[in-house]
């Protein structure tokens, strides 16, 4: 039985979409509310605002790909569904940055872990960043609502062997661990969430809020990049979009003029600040693109006698926060421990050698477990942080600067991961660093890790969580938008995505984006109706 393709059926029923790669002439589109980006923040906002009776236009740079296009092939998924065809990195090239670029945004390729914003993070925003109205009680009803909307529940099925390493290791050591809530309905437990869910089980924006918006009479323009906002006084007058070629590499010469009463930027971290920078939006205190955070990640591989098959099964189902808050909110940097799915192409870049070493590591893939530590950046003055810059052609890049404070966390994380892997029964542990070798005992691993030269490129680093860059807060000298997501200097412009966060989240961010932007959208609807 083929999986029904909800999107294709809706299109057949008359949903209104425009393909920017196939326009025969320039186009003008009008709406009450124009939303740039169809990911977590854009999709959530669009559904709420279209349900409130506003005519919504969604604008997406990436292509429209649906379940019938998702073949669980890395060769297809990475070039078509990811920013810069998965080539995005920090400016110096040392940190691989994964972000989605397709209708549904990063939610189409994310791994479905769904956590509410930690209480400590919310209090820190109120205390240190002048954020008002984002307390636990303010947000709880919005988290509940989005959890219901997206089927978020602790994963009821046994974890795959890759995730079970966290459970077994933490159990043996007396560390905290727990089951991850996932946004799925009828999940087949396949493990290909990162390549687009072929069964529509994952409740991404592609199968939930974007279809709902179209059903409510909204429109979708895809393969079109929001290039520049044009201002008249302290208002956005119109938005200039560029049609993209069908590979989504370069503009194809078509221009789309968008006019709306209100504009929402929801292009995600890096991309939303880039729209503002390209537009020369007012920025009297130079805050746009500053304080961008990544949850920088390091990796530890382990070999087990038993079969792990880290490429199959729900990619993330167990986590440990044992080391997340140990030093307090702004002590030594904390980290969350999880696992990544390991399909061959991605695995080969992480295991990272050439020649026989590579072949031997790859040959053992079925017996390999990999742990990741996601560092909670942005809570301490000495934390690493990034600044969004524009390249000569107007495309963005992130100048992310590591610090000793952050390197220290990475070294501690290598230790924690090796501890857990050995406690779970690993035969050998390999911190993914180019000066490391397989350690056969915990003592050997400890000595090895203490000696690793922690330097860019030698240390394998990645990120799948871009946050911040358009921080919210009441003080216009430090924040780009206020606590309601309204741009401090531009009247009819809001930001509703992960770039709002004044620090990293300290948990995988999607549910934070859903909850926060749902609340901001309902308040925006009230203001626009008034």
């Amino acid at each position: 039985m083929p999986v029904p393709d909800l999107f294709a059926e809706g299109l057949a029923r008359g949903w209104k979409t425009h393909d920017g790669s196939r326009l025969e002439a320039d186009l003008t589109l009008e709406a009450d509310i124009a939303i740039v980006g169809t990911g977590a923040g854009g999709g959530t906002s669009a559904e709420l605002l279209s349900a409130a009776g506003f005519k919504v236009l969604l604008i997406e740079e990436g292509p429209l790909k649906t379940s019938r296009d998702f073949h669980m092939q890395e060769a297809e998924a990475y070039p078509s569904l990811y920013q810069e065809a998965i080539g995005r990195t920090s400016k110096d090239g040392a940190i691989t940055i994964l972000q989605g670029r397709t209708v549904g945004g990063t939610t189409v390729v994310n791994w479905t872990s769904s956590f509410r914003t930690p209480v400590a993070t919310l209090s820190h925003w109120a205390d240190a960043h002048g954020v008002r109205g984002h307390g636990v009680e303010d947000l709880a009803p919005w988290f509940e609502r989005m959890e219901r909307r997206l089927g978020i529940e602790p994963w009821p099925v046994a974890p795959n062997a890759n995730n079970d390493v966290i459970r077994a290791g933490c159990q043996a050591l007396g560390y905290d661990w727990a089951v991850i809530p996932r946004n799925v309905r009828g999940c087949w437990n396949l493990g290909y969430c990162g390549m687009g869910c072929p069964t529509n089980a994952k409740q991404s924006m592609l199968v939930t809020t974007v279809p709902a918006t179209l059903e409510n009479g909204g429109e979708l323009l895809y393969l079109a990049r929001a290039e520049r906002l044009h201002f008249a006084g302290d208002r956005v007058d119109w938005l200039e979009c560029l049609g993209m070629d069908d590979r989504c590499v370069a503009p194809n010469g078509r221009r789309i003029v968008v006019r709306a009463r209100h504009y929402i930027l929801a292009g995600g971290g890096i991309n939303t600040p880039a729209v503002l920078l390209r537009s020369d939006a007012p920025d009297p205190h130079g805050r746009t693109g500053k304080r961008t955070f990544l949850h920088p990640v390091n990796f530890s591989a382990a070999l087990f006698d038993e079969v792990i098959n880290p490429f199959y099964g729900a990619p993330q189902s167990i986590y440990s926060d044992h080391f997340q808050w140990q030093g307090g909110i702004d002590g030594p940097i904390g980290y969350k421990l999880e696992v990544p799915p390991m399909h061959p192409a991605i695995a080969s870049t992480l295991l990272g050698r050439f020649g026989v070493d590579n072949a031997l590591r790859m040959e053992q893939l079925p017996h390999t477990n990999v742990l990741i530590a996601l560092l909670r950046d942005g809570f301490h003055p000495e934390s690493a942080e990034g600044t969004v810059l524009l390249r000569d052609d107007g495309s963005p890049t992130l100048d992310y600067r590591m610090t000793d404070y952050t390197w220290d966390g990475l070294r501690r994380a290598y230790h924690s991961m090796a501890d857990i892997q050995f406690a779970a029964g690993a035969r050998e542990v390999l911190p993914l660093h180019n000066a490391a070798r397989h350690a056969r005992s915990l003592a050997e691993a400890r000595a090895l890790i203490d000696d690793l030269p922690l330097e860019l490129f030698r240390t394998r680093l990645g990120s799948a969580h871009v946050m911040g860059g358009c921080a919210m807060g009441e003080d216009a000298r430090t924040a780009v938008v206020d606590s309601l997501g309204r741009h401090h200097q531009v009247e009819n412009l809001s930001i509703h995505d992960g770039s709002l966060f004044p620090t990293s989240i300290g948990a995988n961010p999607q549910l934070s984006v859903y909850g926060v932007t749902a609340r901001l959208s309902s308040l925006l609807a009230e203001r626009l109706r008034a």
């Binding site: 370069a250 194809n252 026989v356």
Partner: protein, 178 residues
Amino acid sequence: MTTAPASSSRRNLLRFGLLGGAALATVGLTASLTGCSADAPAAGFSQLRDGDLPLLRRLIPVILDGAVPPPAPPDATAATLAGIDRAIAHLSPALATQVLQLFDLLTLPVTRGPLTGIWGDWTSASDEQVRAFLGRWEGSRLMLLRQGYSSLLQLTLMSWYSQPQAWAACGYPGPPTV
């Protein structure tokens, strides 16, 4: 806009390129590089140029040494080359330009020798010489060389391991049927 390969002027390469500034200033070759070599794609490719092919045809088998079990599919190198070409064709123009600039540095005789230790042309480089070059860049104190190594490795490995013919050697049965 054009879909031609993301080439750039050699002058740009020298001033801003991936390995530009620092590395090239030290070898002091600024003037001699402008305006040489063809930028058009090689026959059968959309991005890779004739000058890139000998380099990649030597690098790929060394990087994949042991990963292609005997009897080797005869076209592992060809398949990886095609994958690299496809990958570059989907990168953002800025990144594609950086990759081609890296290939320029590795192939133009004036930079190839000093930066790689390979003084003859790539076709005649031995496996041992190619390994020595990769090892030297991997552990280099110059971040720009480590970056170059990382780009070469990732492009090659991703292009090979995303192909079904690579999977038997890493115990991946492939995706299930839905």
